[in-house]
């Protein structure tokens, strides 16, 4: 490669005031009258080249020798020797340039140009700056030299070369000056003491073009810079907006997260395939207590549930995904045998109206409240029951107290009249006596009932069932023998119980007495008593083959005071009332099943 061209439109400082700047590839001439004129141009021309990193060549010829030339340049360029030592400028005799082979041969000279430019560019210079003096030119070579000058314009057109040719005025005819000027882009000459420039129209135009292009370029750069600035401002705004959106998002996320994690309600979010997406701390705790382990992200909710719950859960999820909200109370039996109650809500997670991306389940632990509620419910039921019992009790008491009193009142009035015989009056008094006895009995009953209630503080002790039954057998010995009754016991499963002996004794005594009283005529009384254990309860099963009670008819009154279900038999309706009262005090439950004329079975459930 011969030449490298850099920025052909780039303007170079000539150092010459009248030309100022010119582009690469410029070839202009300078006419001088005196040596001083010549140096006035030459010194700034080279100084500017040296200062702008151009490789400078001065082709000197007489009357200026190489030494003269260097001396002159040294005067005008302070660092000239430094430039010279660094190989940035060379001063050569014209014979080494134009007349290398002894004759003027343009081909040789062009070759010389190219080699020098190549050296300069390879040496890191911006380009080549040359001054050639034509003082050596003989008239015979004039025409061919001008032709060479003209070709030089084309030769250096796209190359980083600036050439100034220097012509001595005294050697030129007027026509010569015109010819010389014609083959150069511009010509400068000293006229009336000041330098003037004669530019060729081409040069003027291209310079103007370059200026215009430069201006346009500058404008474009300005516009581009402005656009870049605007874009950058826009980008900044966008970034700021994005940052503020992100911050807002972060804030709202943080707000939601703090609510999510600090509520008393457990939250579990599922996708539409029942896979777990998100859950909070409370939900984790609830999962651990009711399922025995924590949730796992991405796991199917089905894995947490047994087959029965799974079906129910599935149908609930389906309704939620149809857009419904569900609310229910649910109980889970935990692993430590305890029951947990949750107030549960299920609702769809919506992004757009009608589009559901999942299910949100909230669960609030209401075990405490629910336990209290259930306790309250059972207490209330118990109270209602007790209240009814009390009502019935007071009704019967008032009735049974009033009945003998009414009789006493009635017969007393009859006895006080004069119209009855003495024998009749005696009968009245007998009736009054009987009634008084009845009255007394009722009051004794009441006493006993009250006694039972107040004895509830009696000491608990270990009581053997066999021992109790033995006492009963002794007490009722006569009746048992009279009725030929059989009592079969089976206390193997539970021989003893910790309870208040007096109550257990009374319960057994009343039941056995009833069985002996209300037996089927012609059938020997047969009684069976069995004890067994079920979980933490002790169960006594007592059965007989007696008259039985029509429970359809009397079911609600079986354990009522003074309730009798058999006619023409002794008994005033105290036995079962007392049994029930005593079982109650022991904290137990008594149930009855019976078939008329077949027998009765009592099941008594006591705490062990």
């Amino acid at each position: 490669m011969l030449t490298k061209t850099k920025n052909p439109n780039e303007l170079r400082k000539t150092g010459i005031e009248v030309i100022s700047e010119t582009s690469w590839g410029t070839h202009f001439c300078n006419f001088y009258e005196t040596k001083q004129d010549m140096l006035d141009i030459l010194v700034p021309f080279f100084r500017s080249g040296l200062e702008n990193n151009e490789y400078c060549v001065y082709i000197a010829c007489s009357p200026v020798s190489v030494e003269d030339a260097e001396r002159s340049l040294r005067k005008g360029i302070p660092l000239f020797d430094k430039y010279l030592a660094e190989g940035k400028i060379e001063v050569i005799n014209h014979t080494e340039w134009y007349l290398k082979s002894g004759n003027f041969d343009p081909v040789d000279v062009f070759d010389c140009w190219d080699k020098k430019l190549n050296l300069a560019l390879n040496g890191g210079f911006e380009g080549l700056r040359i001054n050639g003096n034509a003082a050596w030119l003989e008239r015979r070579l004039w025409d061919s030299f001008l032709e060479y000058e003209n070709d030089l314009n084309h030769h250096i057109k796209d190359k980083n070369i600036i050439v100034m040719c220097t012509y001595p005025m005294d050697k030129c005819f007027a026509a010569d000056v015109l010819d010389v000027a014609h083959v150069h882009k511009a010509a400068i000459a000293k006229r009336k003491g000041s330098w003037e420039i004669f530019e060729s129209p081409d040069t003027k135009r291209s310079k103007a073009d370059i200026l215009k292009k430069n201006t346009q370029l500058q404008d474009r750069v300005k516009i581009g810079t402005q656009q870049l600035k605007d874009a950058s401002t826009d980008l900044e705004i966008v970034m700021l907006k994005k940052a503020s959106t992100e911050e807002a998002l972060q804030r709202s996320n943080a707000n939601l997260a703090s609510i999510f994690e600090n509520t008393d309600t457990g939250y579990l979010l599922l996708d539409t395939n029942m896979n777990i997406i998100l859950f909070n701390k409370i939900a984790s705790e609830l999962a651990v207590s009711s399922f025995g382990r924590n949730y796992m992200n991405g796991e199917s909710m089905y894995n947490m549930l047994d087959e029965v719950s799974r079906q129910e859960f599935k149908s609930r999820c389906n309704s939620v995904l149809e857009g419904k909200q569900i609310k229910f109370e649910v109980d889970y039996h935990g692993f430590n045998n305890s029951v947990y109650w949750y107030d549960t809500r299920m609702f769809p997670i919506k992004i757009d109206e009608g589009k559901h991306i999942g299910i949100c389940i909230s669960a609030e632990d209401i075990t405490d409240r629910k336990t209290r509620e259930l306790e309250k419910e059972s207490i209330t039921l118990d109270l209602i029951h007790r209240n009814k019992d009390l009502e019935q009790f007071s009704y019967m008491v008032s009735h049974n107290l009033r009945a003998p009193i009414a009789n006493i009142l009635g017969f007393s009035k009859l006895a006080l009249q004069d119209k009855y015989e003495e024998s009749e009056v005696k009968n009245f008094i007998q009736q009054i006596d009987s009634s008084a006895e009845n009255l007394d009995e009722v009051i004794r009953d009441l006493n006993m009932i009250l006694q039972v209630k107040t004895e509830s503080h009696a000491k608990k002790e270990e009581v053997r069932f066999a021992e109790i039954l033995e006492s009963i057998r002794k007490t009722l010995k006569n009746t048992i023998e009279k009725e030929n009754a059989v009592i079969i016991e089976n206390f193997e499963a539970a021989e003893t119980i910790i309870c208040r002996r007096v109550y257990l004794y009374s319960i057994f005594l009343n039941l056995v007495s009833n069985s002996l009283k209300f037996h089927n005529t012609g059938v020997l009384p047969h009684i069976e008593i069995t004890t067994l254990k079920k979980e933490d309860k002790l169960i006594i099963v007592y059965s007989d083959n007696g008259l039985g009670i029509d429970l359809k008819k009397y079911g609600g009154k079986v354990f009522g005071l003074y309730k009798r279900f058999h006619h023409d038999t002794e008994g005033k309706g105290m036995g079962l009332f007392m049994v029930k009262a005593q079982v109650d005090i022991l904290g137990g439950i008594i149930k009855i099943s019976s078939e008329v004329n077949k027998g009765t079975e009592f099941t008594i459930e006591l705490n062990q």
């Binding site: 009735h399 009414a406 009859l414 009736q431």
Partner: protein, 132 residues
């Protein structure tokens, strides 16, 4: 009503029954036949048998608290009987103590004409028979 041909007293308390016999005799001077029952079942058997054909005007003094069949049960049974029974028998409840709830309950039966607290009095019997 006029003095009835028959007065039935149904109460499991025999002392009260005896007392009622004296009072009724005193009030009506033996113009009415007096029949006593302590067993509701037996009373119902008697009534069913006796009133199917005969048109005997009767007052029934009925106790409420009785074993096996209460006064209410007796009223339920009487409601199911023939119209002859209902036409001829007028019922007065006779109880040892008067519970307002019992009174309300008795009012629901057409056959029940009144409610008396024991002991029965001569005046009450004469009132029933429009003798005062």
């Amino acid at each position: 009503m006029k003095i009835p041909d028959r007065i039935i007293v149904l109460d499991d308390d025999s002392i009260n029954n005896m007392f009622c016999r004296y009072i009724i005799k005193e009030a009506l001077e033996e113009k009415s036949e007096i029949v006593m029952f302590t067993s509701p079942q037996k009373a119902l058997i008697y009534i069913n048998a006796e009133y199917a054909i005969n048109g005997i005007s009767t007052v029934l003094f009925l106790d409420i608290n009785m074993p096996v069949l209460s006064g209410w049960d007796v009223l339920d049974e009487l409601s199911k009987t023939s119209s002859a029974v209902k036409e001829n028998i007028t019922v007065y409840m006779l109880s040892s103590s008067v519970d307002p709830n019992d009174k309300k309950r008795a009012d629901k039966f057409d056959m029940v004409n009144g409610f008396y607290e024991k002991p029965l009095t001569v005046e009450a019997v004469q009132d029933i028979c429009n003798m005062n």
